[in-house]
């Protein structure tokens, strides 16, 4: 009897956590396919009685969705590439090389992560204006790499330290150069870690709103969150289009997480429980 109670309680608790996590997302998805009368009816339906993809079609006709999507994709891919290049080299240096000041550098990177990004807003805006890159996607790429890079050192820790040093030694004995060992042998072995980091960099730049709001002024340069936000503030809100664009914006992060989520969690938690 008590065993039955225990098992029931266990599954009920899991169901409760799942409900908290999933229900709001479910609500957006089902509302994105309801027709307008059902969508704005004062009595909400918990399972759509009507079905339409009109709101998704409206995305492309009512707002320059394609442009925003392209901008976001360009920024996210550029940030991912730059972050991967900078951080994999730096992490190798911090975790696998020996030199004076290494521990101090490591601590400096970690504290720069703790340090709040809002403090960068004003001075970077001034600097970017002087460099004439304000209102360009370049400005966003630069600042996103800045906010992501320190955390990436943390993410890569678990993956970089689990590779035995003997492996590099053996390759060196075979006559390979040290840089060759790093690029051709070491980095491929940490592919899962680099994928996890890439996922994080992509996700962060894909969803970022604060710097985009301040650094981007003109329409053709807007990223998805920015384009969608202006829609949310309109006097008469078109909920159907907002629901549809919500789903579309959220899809890339979810798909990427489905692919590389395991490794991301490994990198994240290994840093915390170290």
């Amino acid at each position: 009897m008590t065993a039955v109670v225990k098992v029931t309680a266990r599954y009920l608790s899991v169901a409760a956590v799942l409900a908290v996590v999933v229900l709001p997302a479910y609500w957006v998805v089902i509302n994105s396919v309801k027709t307008l009368p059902e969508l704005i009816s004062p009595v909400p339906t918990f399972w759509p009685h009507t079905f339409t993809l009109q709101h998704y079609a409206d995305l492309f006709t009512q707002i320059p969705f394609g442009t925003y999507f392209r901008n976001s994709l360009y920024v996210a891919l550029a940030v991912t590439a730059i972050t991967l290049a900078l951080s994999s080299l730096a992490a190798y240096s911090l975790y696998r090389c020996r030199y004076r000041g290494r521990e101090m550098l490591f601590e400096a990177f970690m504290s720069s992560y703790i340090f709040p990004r809002v403090l960068l807003l004003i001075p970077l805006y001034v600097a970017f204006t002087r460099l004439r890159i304000i209102d360009t996607l370049t400005a966003l790429i630069i600042v996103y790499v800045t906010t992501i890079a320190p955390f990436s050192i943390w993410m890569l820790h678990a993956f970089f330290t689990e590779i035995p040093p003997e492996l590099e030694d053996a390759a060196m004995v075979d006559g390979a150069s040290r840089f060759g060992v790093l690029v051709r042998i070491f980095l491929p072995l940490t592919a899962t870690g680099l994928t996890a980091l890439g996922l994080y960099a992509f996700l962060m730049s894909w969803t970022e709103y604060f710097f985009a709001l301040t650094f981007i002024i003109s329409g053709p340069q807007k990223t998805l969150p920015l384009g969608m936000a202006q829609f949310l503030q309109d006097y008469s809100i078109d909920w159907g289009v907002l629901m549809a664009s919500s789903v579309v914006i959220a899809i890339p992060p979810i798909v990427l997480f489905a692919i590389a989520g395991r490794w991301f969690i490994k990198g994240l938690t290994a840093g915390a429980i170290r």
């Binding site: 004062p42 090389c97 550098l105 004003i122 600097a127 709103y209 998805l224 992060p253 979810i254 938690t269």
Partner: protein, 334 residues
């Protein structure tokens, strides 16, 4: 996360490479100067410096330099960006520290940070304890608990506005149906309610991340330890209080620290839901700095707010790490 030297404890014992090995034997001899330089750069300590240099330069240019520039700007009277400023000394600081707005914002930021940290860490802990049980499909659930964190802040705000809308929102509908309320509630319309609503929405977004970290910590507790406590007659709560929580205390300290710094930093959700209102009830520092700089076009005033904020956060950081994380750092050190 913890800035301890421990992760560096096992550097690779890579031997310095011999000059002749790059870029490939006899052929390289023809370009001796280049080959020699390349060989030198691949020896300790130069190789390490070389690899870390790009990120160091990037960080100096985009974090260290801007911070110093913020101090310079705070001593001028720049209005909108691009206008020339005159040196005004500490005038901006005097004005800000004397304003009620600054102290109100300090108060709101502290409330916001504390409440968010408590909700996120507590929510994360509860979720982690639930997911740490054995159940069918645990691997799947333990991965996809992350869902709220994957949702972009703009979608988060859209979702909240939609669900909480006074006329169309499902929350009002359900509350009315359950008889809890008799007239539609405007969740973002009154100061206290707007503050609590924004806090809940933000906490929902972040708690999965902390749940995952706490779950990972819980799983490092050896089964024998909890089983031994069970044999000794401890019930669930006894085990939790005497065995599990003490075992993950250090991780919790780190997580509380991260959560509080992240919460103090939040802009998106607040701005999209309330724009700092109503009646400045959700006006935290990120909102105030943005507002001064980009709505009132007073760049120097905004910079002058950033500087005491930085000092305050730095003090908090040092105090917290000394008070709660020192032990951990010393334990972790070799």
């Amino acid at each position: 996360m913890r800035p301890s030297p421990s992760p560096l404890a096992h550097p690779a014992g890579v031997a310095p490479s011999r000059g002749a090995s790059f870029p490939g034997g006899a052929f390289a001899r023809g370009r001796a100067p280049f080959a020699r330089l390349a060989a030198t750069l691949q020896k300790d300590p130069y190789f390490g410096y070389l690899l870390v240099l790009p990120l160091v330069l990037w960080t100096v240019l985009t974090i260290v330099y801007p911070l110093l520039d913020a101090v310079r700007l705070s001593l001028l009277n720049v209005g909108y960006v691009g206008s020339a400023g005159r040196f005004v000394g500490a005038a901006n600081y005097v004005k800000i520290l004397a304003s009620a707005e600054f102290w109100h914002t300090t108060e709101v930021t502290v409330f916001w940070t504390v409440l968010n940290t408590v909700l996120q860490v507590l929510g994360g802990l509860i979720a982690a304890l639930v997911l740490n049980q054995d159940f069918w499909g645990h691997e799947f659930v333990r991965t996809w608990i992350i869902l709220p964190w994957l949702i972009p802040s703009i979608v988060l705000a859209t979702m909240a506005k939609w669900m909480l809308d006074p006329t169309l929102g499902v929350v009002n509908y359900l509350l009315a149906k359950a008889g809890v309320i008799h007239a539609p509630v405007s969740f973002l319309g009154t100061p206290v309610l707007a503050f609590l609503t924004a806090t809940l929405v933000n906490a929902w977004h972040w708690f999965p991340l902390f749940a995952l970290m706490i779950l990972a910590a819980l799983q490092t507790i050896p089964k024998e330890v909890t089983e031994a406590a069970e044999v000794d007659g401890a019930n669930y709560w006894g085990r939790l209080w005497w065995v599990e929580l003490p075992s993950i205390a250090q991780v919790l300290y780190v997580i509380i620290f991260i959560a509080s710094l992240w919460a103090a930093n939040i802009f998106d959700v607040i701005w999209l839901l309330t724009r700092g209102g109503p009646v400045n009830a959700t006006n935290t520092f990120p909102i105030l700095i943005y507002y001064k700089g980009f709505q009132e076009f007073r760049i120097s005033a905004a910079a002058a707010i950033s500087v005491p904020l930085f000092a305050g956060l730095l003090l908090y950081g040092v105090w917290y790490m000394r008070r709660f994380m020192r032990e951990g750092i010393e334990e972790a050190a070799p």
